[in-house]
Assembly symmetry: C2
Homo-oligomer: 204 residues x 2
Amino acid sequence: MADKGLLLVLSGPSGVGKGTVKSAIVEHKVFPFEYSVSMTTRKPREGEVDGKDYYFVSREQFQQAVQDNQLLEYNEYVGNLYGTPLGPVKKMLAQGKDVLLEIDVNGARKVREQMPDGVFIFLTPPDLHTLRDRLEHRGTESEEVIRGRIAQARKEILVMQDYDYAVVNDTVANAVAHIKAIVDAEHVSVKRVIDDYRRMVQED
Amino acid sequence: MADKGLLLVLSGPSGVGKGTVKSAIVEHKVFPFEYSVSMTTRKPREGEVDGKDYYFVSREQFQQAVQDNQLLEYNEYVGNLYGTPLGPVKKMLAQGKDVLLEIDVNGARKVREQMPDGVFIFLTPPDLHTLRDRLEHRGTESEEVIRGRIAQARKEILVMQDYDYAVVNDTVANAVAHIKAIVDAEHVSVKRVIDDYRRMVQED
């Protein structure tokens, strides 16, 4: 049964390994998905193709796109603007293709506002996952280290609560396996397939 | 991280193959789960052990259990009552063990009322899934057959909408793979793990 594609948003704290996990999904062809080509004000490098590697635009064009709500999210990095164009993402989803975005937590929050039906996956550091064990074996770490870990964990949990899934990145293979299961499960979730079943019997 | 077990409810229309799918999960050890021992007014057969195969009780004891809300669901079959005791299920879930119930749609509806956090999986017949194709190639089937299929599909869709997942039983292997993915995904869903993360940082 043809259903709408899934918008998969892979995010998590800086340094958690989002890029590595995404690369593993691509390399091992864990599940098929479409790339979203980003828009940027950065100058093209040797060999980069407009519309394939990036949509290369001027700062004025970028700001116009922001004003026209044509970007799902954007941010500035080393003096250049980078953003995710909304139009191509919507088109791919309508064609039944899954789209994977690997973005930081601020970007993910903006995407959630515009696309609440997306599947939001928070990659958590194994530290957070094993914090309980550390707390239970308190004697082995200084109070200061423990306090710092707890403060950091509190921040991450506040972010995590707006996501659908929390995947521990203890090993890339484990994280990838969980993400594959999430994608498979979401494709058969009633909230995603029921409209298609309903249309089927009403079209008659 | 220790979280509460999942109550997995596998249901679907009569004849869809729930029992076969459950047997395949058991036989191939697809994922670990606990059995719920049913209560029944049926007389024990040769070799059946009370508390292992069934809890064998009198009709009066059974009706008392119903009155005391000790059964998650029950029904009558060929003059005997069969039910799922609530206490053992709650205990296994609290111990972090997943429990799988394979029951009919009426039973599943009663379970949903008492355990809304369960994972409700509707096994759909491939007929329903392929109904669209049949409609599109209308000429090959009589109007009457088509109308009958649509009426049946409408009924099944009404039931399905109260479930979390709709898994097509086209082959047992496919259905089992989807159910495994659902179990894996639900175990990392934020709504199930967030309380544990929160407790972890608040206990300090």
